[in-house]
Amino acid sequence: MADTCHIMAGRLKEPVDLIIALAGNPNVGKSVIFNQLTGVDVISANYPGTTMELNMASTRLGGLKIGVMDLPGTYALGAISDDQRVARKCILEGHPHIIVFIADATNLERNLYMLLQLIELKRPMIVALNLVDEAKRLGYEVDHEKLSRMLGIPVIPTVAVQGKGIEELLKTSVDVAIGNIEPKPMRVSYGRDIEDIIDELEKTALKHLERSPHDLPVRALSILLLENDKEFVEDVKKDKGGPEVLKEAARLAEEIRKEHGESAAIRLSRERHGLAGMIAESVKSVSEEKLPMSQRLWAYTVNPRTGVPLMLITMAGIFAFLFYIGGALSELLTRLWEIGPHVVIQSVVFGLLGKGVIGKTLIWGFDGGIEAALSVGVPYVLTFYFILAFLEDSGYLNSIAFLTDSIMHKFGLHGRAIIPMVAGAGCNVPAIIGTRVLTSPRERFIASTLIVLVPCSARVAVIMGGVAKFAGISYALGIFLISLLVIIVVGLVLNWLMPGQSSGLVMEMFGLRRPSLKAIARKTWFRFREFVFVAFPIVLVGSLVLGALYEMGAIEVLSQPLKPIIVGWLGLPLITGATLIFAVLRKELALQFLITFAITQYGAHAANLSTFMSKSQLFVYGLVTIIYIPCIAAISVLVNELGWKKASAIVIMTTVIAVLLGGIARIAFSFFA
C-alpha cells in the first residue's frame, strides 16, 4: 500500500509541484478547510485494505500547482486503528512537502497531544488554529503568536466556515514548503528519567540499526518502540540489528513500568498530555466562561427527557421528507420524463430500428431503465445525502447515536446506524450507502441487511395500493408488523451468528456546530456522483436483459420452473411469478405488472385484483414482495459497498425468508379457514 498518496496525486488532471497534507483530530473543520482550499477537481479513493477514504484535490498559488490531501481525522498518531495507520502512512510514505495540522481552538489541549506526536516526526509543518470564533463565543482567546513561539512553527488563526485565514494559511504553507520560512520546532521532552531511557535506547538503535524505518529521527523511533508501536516493531524486526534493539526497548519499557506502575505507552501518553495541557494553559486567556447557544442546545439534544422526543421528531421529519417530498419529486421527474426524453427516445429508437424485439428491448433499457434510476436517484438519494451530510456536519448525528446506542447494540450495531435505518423507509439505496458512517465491515453488513428488509416507499405503495385496497387495511398492517418482526429477529440472529462483536463505543461529543453549506453541498455531490456512476450502468443493463427476456416471450417460460414455489408452496396464481421477477427492477412494478398481466390474461375486470385473488393470496403476495430481493438499484449499491459475495448473501437470504414466510402464511390461513 506504499504510495497511494502519490498515485492519487498522479490522477489529478495536471501534475502538481507541491503536496500539502491536512492532518488533525476529527471534527475540527478539516474537510471545511479542504473545501475552502480547493476547487472542483476532487479525487476520492479508499486507502488499500481499509474503508478509509482519502480525498485529494488541487489548487494554485502564483505559478505553483498544489495538491491538497485530506487525511483521515484521528486523535493520535499511532497504529491502533485504521484511520491512525492511514494518516501516519500518508505522512511517512507519501512525503508531503508540508503538513498542515488543523487544531481546534476550543479544545486546544487535546489537539496539542497529536501535534506533539507530529512534531516528534520532524517533518515540515504549520498549524491552522481553527474555530477561533467559536472559542471567543465560549469566552476565551488563544494567543496564537505565543503558541507559535512555544511550538517553534507558524500558527495561522482561521475561521474555516467563513474562509477567514485560508489565504494566509496557503501562503505560509508554501513559504515553509519551499524554504522561505524555516521553522524551528520545539523539542518535545519528557520527565528526566524517561529522557534518560529514551537516550539509552537511541544509543542502542544508532549502534545496531542499519537504518531507521522511513528515515524517522532515531529519537522518535525510540519513543515509538518504547510505546510498543505494532508497525514500527515489525519494521525494526526486519533490520539486521533489529532484535537487539527490540530486546533493549522491551527491557527499558519494563523499567518505566516498574518505576511508574503503568506501561511505558501510558506513561509517555500521560506526560505528553501533561505537556499539552501546560502549553494550552499558557496560551489561553479566559475572559469569562460562557455557555453559547449551540452548547445549551446541544445539552438538550443529549438529555434523555428532551433529546428523545427531539430525536423522534427528527426521524419522523426525515421519513416524511423522503416519503412525501421525495415521492412528489419522483412523480414530477417521471412526468417530465414522459413528456420529454421518453418521447424523443421512443421516436429515435423506433424510427431507426422499428418496433421489433431489439427496438422494444432498447426502450426497456434506455427509456424505462434510465427513468427508474433517475426517479430513485435524484429525489431520494440526493435529498437523503443532503440530510445526512447536514446531520453529520452539525454534530447532531452524534447526539442521536448517543441516545440510540443501547437499542442498536442488541443488533450488534452502534447508535450511528439509526439514521440509515430510518432513511431506508424512504429508499433503501441511499440508506445502504449511508452505512459508511459505521466503522467495521461487520456492522456495515448487518446494517445493510436490515435496511434491505425495511419496506421502502415503493414497497409501501404496493402494500397500500394492492393489499390495503383489495384485502383491507388490517391485512396491510399485518404485513408491516411481520416485516418489523423479521427485522428484529434477523438483527438479533445476525448479531449472534456473525463472528466478532461490536467494539466498545468511544465517540467524541463536540456539541453543535454551524455547518458550512459549501462543505455539505460538496459532500452531497461527491456521494451522489458515485451513486450515479455505480447504479446507472447496472440498472441500465438489468433493464435491457429483463426487457429482452420479456420481448422474446421468455418470462413465461422462465416462470414455469417457479411453478412449484409460486403455485405449490405459496398458493398464488402463476402470473404473479413473472411480476415478482419484474419487480426487481423497481418494486412498485410488482403491482403495476400484476394488474397489466391480469388484464391481458383475465380481461378488463381483473384490474380489481380481488376478482382473481383471495384476501389471503393478496396477503401472501404482499408479504413476499415486501421481503424478497431488494430492487436492482439496491443490489447495485450493495455490490459496490459490500462486494459480490455479501451482496449475493443478502439477496439469497431475503428471498429465502420471503418464500418461507409466504408459505407459512398460506398454511396459517388454510388452517384458520
Binding site: N107, R110, K230, I266, E271, V302, P304, S406
Partner: protein, 237 residues
C-alpha cells in the same frame, strides 16, 4: 514529625506510598528496585521505620504503612505535587526538569507557605502529570473505587483503574487522556443503559456501557454522600 526526618526516610515513605496496593504489604524486593538500592539496606531501613511506628513490618512479606505513616507520606506527596504545579504554572520550569526540581523544592515548604501556595494556584486538584494532590488532612483519596456506570450526571470522580485486557485499547484511551488519576465529570447518561458522556480535559466523549463498566473511579465527596444515603442512580427515562 516530618521536620526531624532524614531525607532517606522521606524517600522511603514516598516509595511506600507509590507502591502501596490497598491493604497489601510492599515487598522488600519491589522497594529495593524502586529506590535502586540493595535489598539488604532496605530491610534495615524498614526496621527503623517500624520502630517509629510508621510501618508494620512482616518478615518475608514486606512493609505496610500505618495510619500515621500514610498521613506523613501523603503530606510529602502533597508538597511534591504542589511544588510541581507551582514550578510549572508560575515559574514555567521546563517539563523534563519538573520532577527533579520539585524534589528539591518540596523540602523548604512550611505549612503556612503550603496554604498560600494552594491559594495562589487556585486549589489545584492534580499535579501537571495528572496525579491527584492529597487533601490537607494528609489523607489520600483512594479508599473506595466504583465503576463509572454507578455515577449520576454532574457527578465527578478520579479514575483509579481501567480493567481492560487489550493493551491497544488502553493505549487508545490513554491517547484521549483517559488513564488512572485523571478527574472526570459525568455529563449525561443515555436511556436504557446506554452510553455515558464524560468530560475530561475540556473534551467530551460518549463511552459505551461495555467500556464504562470497566472504568473505576474514586468518587468525589458528593457522590459518597449520595451512596451513603442509599439513593440509587437516576434511571434514564
Amino acid at each position: 514529625m516530618i521536620n526531624n526526618m532524614t531525607p532517606t526516610i522521606e524517600e522511603y515513605l514516598e516509595a511506600l506510598f507509590h507502591l502501596r496496593d490497598k491493604g497489601k504489604a510492599v515487598s522488600t524486593k519491589d522497594l529495593a528496585e524502586h529506590l535502586k538500592i540493595a535489598p539488604a539496606s532496605v530491610t534495615d531501613m524498614i526496621k527503623k521505620l517500624a520502630d517509629k511506628k510508621l510501618v508494620i513490618h512482616t518478615p518475608y512479606k514486606g512493609a505496610i504503612l500505618t495510619k500515621n505513616g500514610l498521613k506523613a507520606a501523603a503530606a510529602l506527596v502533597r508538597r511534591h505535587r504542589l511544588s510541581e504545579r507551582f514550578l510549572a504554572d508560575m515559574l514555567g520550569v521546563p517539563w523534563e526538569d519538573l520532577h527533579d526540581e520539585a524534589c528539591k523544592f518540596e523540602h523548604v515548604i512550611s505549612d503556612q507557605v503550603e496554604e498560600k501556595l494552594l491559594e495562589a494556584l487556585g486549589n489545584p486538584k492534580t499535579c501537571p502529570h495528572g496525579n491527584p494532590i492529597p487533601t490537607s488532612d494528609g489523607s489520600i483519596v483512594e479508599d473506595m473505587s466504583i465503576p463509572l456506570t454507578s455515577f449520576n450526571p454532574k457527578e465527578t470522580g478520579t479514575i483509579t483503574k481501567i480493567k481492560e485486557e487489550n493493551p491497544e485499547f488502553l493505549h487508545y484511551l490513554a491517547s484521549l487522556g483517559l488513564f488512572p488519576k485523571v478527574c472526570i465529570e459525568v455529563k449525561e447518561i443515555a436511556p436504557f443503559s446506554g452510553p455515558i458522556i464524560i468530560k475530561t480535559r475540556g473534551a467530551s466523549y460518549a463511552l459505551g456501557r461495555d467500556v464504562a463498566c470497566n472504568i473505576f473511579l474514586h468518587p468525589d465527596i458528593e457522590v459518597k454522600k449520595r451512596l451513603k444515603h442509599g439513593k440509587t442512580r437516576r434511571k434514564g427515562v
